[in-house]
């Protein structure tokens, strides 16, 4: 949208006003000039017609109704017409007889087309009107009555010398007829055209141009401080309250600038006060924030401690239970194992058609389940005996490779390794850590029953050796991810939920950490951090 400025509006409105004034002035001036020229023409017309009417010879000629005597009066009339405006002349006698009618040769209109005055008896004084002929010519028509010569010249002179009698009635005169003359306004029209093109129109243009120029300067004078004020207002709006407007005048603009400066000053004071309050509030907020952080940390610590306590108690209970139960079950299972072994050997040495094939099959099942039960018991015992470690400086890469070689991995699993050889030695219990790696690798493989990619990498970071085992398996649901390290928690149908709990316990005993990141359908990544510095090592 086009923005129309106050300067444009002012100049436009002022220019329109001045143009109107210029046009009106030109119109008025031209009208007055024409009026003046017309008045002058009328004066000349009255003078000429009066000269003709007062001419003694004209009166005498009209008295005797002889037009031959008009030659001299008309010659005098034409001589008096210095401006060459006389167009026609006509003499009418009472009642309505035309005694003489003539026109100048250069007038197009025929004299017959110039209207004749009727009822001349009614003409009592000079008459003026403007005539338009059929040919389009315009004439200023003058008519005056001619009365019979009042007295002889000598008596007129006597009247002048002795003075007229007070009760002398001059109106008691006999009307002889009228004289009519016409003047053409061509000369005043030409003069008017000249005045119009040499004075009025240039003057009008000058008024308009000067008006526009003056309005431009006035508008600039008014708008410039306003624009300056706007610019400073924008700066103030953008936060620079140090700005102030220079006061150059004592008019309304000057008052506005003064008030603006007062407002800016007041605003700056308020902003300073607000800034002080904000600083105080910010300090208080920071204090509250730090207190809150501390509270959160404390709360988390408490929560962790509580969880740790619960876990510890749980592990202790599980350990105690596992230790007692495992010890009591191991011997009977060994006896069963031996009995199954004896039966299988006896049956396999004798080829008897009476022996059902299904007996051998059941004995194999029993043997496998005994092994599985033994393993569970060993796990429980391992969990219970995890407390003691035998750490030695070890190369983690070797440990990882060893674990990978021992772990059971399906053939459709693609393994990617990133195991740098220059990692520092780390103090670990090689068997326990190896057991952790095997456990985790097998878990990862089990999460990819249809195949996938297993990535194993090691690195050093901030005083720790980091080992990351990631798979592209089915992932772990978010709600169960926190429970996977709890003892007896399992998602596998044949698991007892002790594997990851044992791993967690081993890593904690090494003062390391084990974290899980998993997304369902994408995979799971387990990151183990083992400290390079052994916290249990005694200083030498």
């Amino acid at each position: 949208m086009i923005r129309i400025g106050i300067r444009f509006k002012f100049i436009l409105s002022t220019s329109l006003l001045i143009t109107f004034i210029g046009v009106a002035s030109s119109w008025y001036f031209s009208t007055q000039t024409k009026k003046q020229l017309e008045e002058e023409l009328k004066k000349r017309g009255y003078s000429l017609v009066a000269q003709l009417a007062q001419d003694g010879e004209v009166k005498d000629s009209m008295s005797v109704a002889q037009k031959v005597f008009f030659e001299e009066p008309i010659r005098r009339l034409r001589n008096l017409d210095i401006e060459q405006e006389l167009a026609y002349w006509r003499v009418l006698l009472v009642p309505d007889d035309i005694l003489l009618e003539e026109k100048e040769s250069w007038i197009k209109t025929e004299i017959d087309n110039v209207p004749v005055y009727h009822n001349i008896g009614d003409v009592t004084g000079p008459v003026f009107d403007i005539l338009f002929t059929d040919s389009g010519e315009q004439f200023y028509n003058f008519v005056v009555p001619v009365y019979e010569k009042h007295t002889i010249a000598e008596e007129e002179f006597a009247a002048q010398i002795f003075g007229l009698d007070e009760d002398c009635d001059e109106s008691a005169k006999e009307l002889l007829g009228i004289v009519q003359i016409g003047l053409t306004p061509e000369r005043i029209n030409k003069k008017m055209q000249t005045v119009l093109w040499t004075s009025i129109i240039p003057l009008g243009f000058m008024i308009v141009l000067v008006g526009i120029g003056v309005s431009y300067f006035i508008a600039s004078g008014v708008v410039r401080p306003v624009i300056n004020l706007v610019k400073i207002t924008e700066r103030v709006a953008s936060g620079d309250l140090e700005q102030s407007v220079e006061i150059r005048s004592r008019d309304e603009i000057g008052m506005l600038a003064s008030r603006f400066n007062q407002m800016t000053k007041g605003l700056k004071q308020l902003m300073d006060e607000k800034e002080g309050v904000m600083i105080e509030l910010r300090g208080v907020n920071e204090e509250l924030s730090s207190i809150n952080t501390e509270l959160v940390q404390t709360n988390e610590q408490l929560k962790d401690a509580q969880e740790q306590l619960v876990r510890t108690e749980k592990l202790a209970a599980v350990g105690t239970l596992a230790s007692g139960v495992s010890h009591e079950l191991r011997n009977p299972l060994s006896a069963i194992k031996n009995a199954v072994f004896f039966l299988k050997r006896k049956l396999s040495n004798k080829e008897s058609p009476d022996i059902d094939a299904r007996v051998i099959q059941f004995l194999d099942i029993m043997d496998k389940e005994i092994d599985r039960s033994t393993k569970i018991i060993n796990d429980l015992l391992g969990f219970a005996r995890v407390i003691s470690l035998s750490k030695i400086p070890s190369d983690i890469t070797v440990v990882v490779n060893e674990a990978m070689s021992r772990a059971k991995m399906a053939e459709n699993i693609k393994v990617s390794k990133n195991l740098p050889s220059n990692l520092p030695m780390v103090m670990i219990d090689v068997n326990k850590i190896g057991q952790v790696f095997i456990n985790l690798i097998e878990n990862a493989c089990q999460a990819m029953p249809d195949g996938g990619e297993l990535q194993i990498s090691t690195r050093e970071s901030k005083g720790f050796i980091e080992i990351e085992i990631a798979d592209s398996g089915c992932g772990i649901p978010e709600k169960t991810i926190k429970k996977i390290f709890d003892p007896l928690f399992t998602t596998k149908p044949k698991g007892i939920g002790m594997g990851l709990a044992v791993c967690h316990g081993i890593i904690e005993k090494h003062h390391g950490t084990i974290d899980v990141k998993s997304q369902e359908g994408i995979g799971t990544s387990i990151l183990i951090k083992l400290p390079l510095e052994d916290k249990n090592a005694r200083p030498s």
């Binding site: 007295t151 010249a153 007129e156 002179f157 010398i161 003075g163 002398c168």
Partner: protein, 312 residues
């Protein structure tokens, strides 16, 4: 015996017859007045004439106004001839010239004819009173307010007032005044004449010359003389009222009385004849006090004097 009654009756009858006869002889003298037009000055003359006729036992049979018209004038005068008055008084040039043509056998007295010499008003039956006051009397009157008058300017058309100038020249010299003349032949020359004489004169004498005095020129003459501090002297109080300084002019009413006296003298003669053309017996000095004040003149000496009229 003669009865006394008869004697008384006879005496009374004789007395009455004589009285009637004397009355009839005396009352037979009749006059007709013809005035050229209805002017105030003419009316004053007529008024004076009426008074004079009463004193001189002349009966005014009728008074005619020609209204300035030649045709009417002739018709009227022909009618008067039929009336056969004993004497005719003509007032103004129109009445006088027509009467002169038409009434050659009736004695007439004319008056109020400006510069009568131009019209050759002479004849056995023509008696007249000049309109203009004698030049010596005029100058005497002007001298009462202009002591130091030396050079008197005059503009004139020789065809109209040349005769006045001719007779004035010698009379003026006798009084010790130098006449500065300037001839003109048309009214348009008035301006030029004024420029020419105005620096050489103490006062301007305005004659009743129709070439010099027109409605337009009088304004120019008056303003020019006033601007140059030159007194303007005229022959009619009309100009004094209009702003000229002074005028010596005949007492119009007395002109009428003088005409009646002349008529009586003519009628009392055994054979009516001309008494010639006489000057007016009485005249007035008219002064415009405002103009005098502008010119720095004091009017103490003339104030209150008889036959002096002061206009403002």
């Amino acid at each position: 015996m003669i009865n006394k009654t008869y004697i008384y009756f006879t005496f009374i009858s004789i007395f009455l017859i004589l009285f009637q006869g004397a009355y009839c002889v005396y009352a037979e003298k009749t006059a007709v007045v013809i005035k050229s037009q209805n002017l105030s000055a003419y009316n004053k003359v007529m008024e004076g004439f009426k008074g004079g006729c009463i004193q001189n036992n002349i009966t005014i049979k009728s008074i005619y106004d020609l209204k300035g018209k030649m045709k009417i004038g002739h018709r009227i005068v022909r009618k008067i001839r039929k009336e056969k008055p004993d004497i005719v008084l003509t007032i103004g040039v129109l009445a006088t010239t027509i009467a002169k043509e038409e009434l050659k056998d009736i004695p007439m007295v004319f008056c109020m004819v400006i510069n009568h010499e131009r019209f050759q008003l002479t004849g056995p039956n023509i008696t007249g009173i000049t309109t203009e006051v004698a030049i010596e009397e005029q100058l005497k009157g002007y001298k009462t307010i202009l002591d130091s008058l030396q050079d008197l300017g005059v503009i004139y058309d020789p065809s109209k007032t040349g005769n006045i100038i001719e007779s004035a020249e010698t009379k003026v010299k006798d009084i010790g005044i130098n006449l500065v003349k300037y001839e003109i032949k048309s009214s348009k020359m008035v301006s030029e004449a004024l420029e020419n004489v105005i620096g050489r004169i103490d006062a301007l004498w305005l004659l009743p010359d129709s070439t010099v005095v027109t409605k337009k020129s009088f304004g120019l003459i008056k303003s020019t003389t006033l601007e140059n501090n030159i007194p303007l002297l005229c022959t009619s109080d009309v100009f004094v009222k209009a702003g000229a300084l002074a005028a010596v002019f005949s007492d119009y009413k007395y002109v009428g009385r003088q005409a009646a006296q002349l008529a009586k003298e003519i009628l009392s003669q055994s054979a009516s004849g001309s008494l010639g053309i006489v000057n007016p017996d009485k005249f007035n000095l008219a002064i415009n006090s405002d103009t005098a004040e502008k010119l720095g003149l004091t009017l103490k000496e003339v104030r209150g004097k008889p036959h002096t009229i002061i206009y403002r």
